[in-house]
Symmetry: C2
Subunit: 285 residues, 2 copies
């Protein structure tokens, strides 16, 4: 199953037959005081810098999120999306819980890339959310991320997360959104608080991939929240998740690209290790 | 299913319910000129140093192999096993293709640890090998590693490797060796030469674990032979393999222990990340 994202100049294909697609996570003020303060002040310089740095580090798609206290997302999200689209060529993932902000950003996207197709992050399994966001996805013919949570929160078993994923996919199909445009996020919570957090998420990925066939994303770094030496944990989780069908994680490309290239190599998606060796040479020259 | 190894003073339990057991690979002259030369000269100082260093680095079991050109294994293997057993407390894995050397080393093991139980590395699916080695395993009540290769070589599909594993397990059981004392090695070849090498090995692990229930080892570093930045590839492969049931890889503990602790943590085998955090503190203090 292929999810195709498009900017004005570039297409990215998410498919289990192809190498893993990296969605850059760094344009997001959560936990980043400097970016949050700049956004409150209406200053987008950091957004431009992060856009360039992430693409240089190997990000294939950029998540754009401006949600922070005192930020007017309806004003700032379209501005940030415009700046990212004018700075780099990769497709964008428009990330907001505010439907008006999504709408304003989608208008900018349509203006700058009339034939483009962004990813919307996200529509979860909450009834109100499905009713608000899915019609936008249908109208603007975007792809959309569906995190496996509903009105009762994040389920604590793989089976229940599969059930939420199924609900999102079915509701989307009911509105004429093709299944391949729904990318499911099985969600990773920290193993520091719940030793089963990884197993539940990984199990859900395997089931969703097997039963629904859709492509999978996850915000991988949550798995190690609160723990030391986080990258080692993130790398292990990503390798296992990629084995289970994860193919477009939301990550810090500069930190995890070597591990993801290695996982693709082990999974048989890099003949003669050409991508792996090329990235190694670039990193060490 | 539990494989229990014993030295004179220590038991190690290999089980998918427990953290991964690390079998230290460094007492092996393959590719190590200095060790090979020392063994030819009858000098075992490096063996002692490697035994201490590996246990310090977190190895739970030590593989002991003295096979190199011009080394008399029947003389040197029992000496090396004796030295390792006198230097450190962990169980040993007696590693030789020479049956007389295995016999001589087993006699030493019985002398120093009458109640002990070593691992023998290995008996593969070749007819002659099964006939020679399995009776020793039965007589000395050891555990044994079974690499999935037979008279036709190393099969190129997961299904065929499962078939060889089944043959080894059945032949062992026919001699009264309990199934839990057979540890299967699904073998890793380099992905640099064959892009499917990882997929075939990982698939075999999942099948052997599911169909035969036995514990699994692998010499993990082969996966990255000939490639740069090998540890990143080895880490990715180990994480995926541990997810598929690998629970006692043969590794360089100093290089891969952080990745294996992370994989155990993600797999839900390290409550509150206590082992992971403890090892991190030791490494960085």
């Amino acid at each position: 199953m292929e999810t195709i994202l498009k900017s004005a100049k570039k297409s990215v294909v998410i498919s289990s037959e192809k190498p893993t697609v990296l969605i850059g996570e760094r344009i997001n003020p959560t936990g980043k005081k400097r970016l949050a303060a700049a956004l409150v002040a209406g200053n987008l310089d950091i957004v431009r810098q992060e856009a360039e740095a992430q693409v240089e580090a190997g990000a294939d798609v950029l998540d754009v999120n401006v949600g922070a206290a005192s930020v007017d997302e309806v004003d700032m999200l379209p501005k940030a999306v415009r700046l990212v689209m004018e700075t780099v060529d990769v497709p964008v993932c428009i990330d907001s819980a505010d439907v008006d902000a999504l709408l304003a950003a989608l208008a900018v996207h349509r203006e700058l890339a009339p034939e483009g197709k962004p990813l919307i992050n996200s529509v979860n399994g909450e009834e109100a959310h499905l009713e608000q966001v899915l019609p936008l996805v249908a109208e603007y013919k975007t792809a959309v991320i569906g995190p496996t949570m509903d009105d009762e929160g994040i389920p604590d078993t793989s089976e229940k997360r599969l059930a939420v994923a199924r609900k999102i996919v079915e509701r989307a199909e009911g509105l004429g959104i093709p299944r391949e445009d729904v990318v499911i996020d099985c969600l990773a919570l920290t193993v520091g608080a719940d030793s089963q957090a990884g197993v539940v998420s990984l199990g859900a990925m395997r089931m969703v991939r097997e039963k629904l066939g859709v492509n999978l994303t996850v915000g991988a770094s949550n798995i190690s929240f609160g723990l030391p030496d986080r990258e080692v944990i993130n790398w292990a989780f990503l390798a296992m998740a990629i084995q289970n069908g994860l193919n477009c994680p939301i990550v810090d490309a500069a930190k995890v690209r070597p591990a993801i290239l290695a996982a693709d190599l082990v999974m048989g998606r890099d003949d003669y290790a050409m991508r792996y060796i090329k990235a190694y040479k670039k990193r060490t020259k």
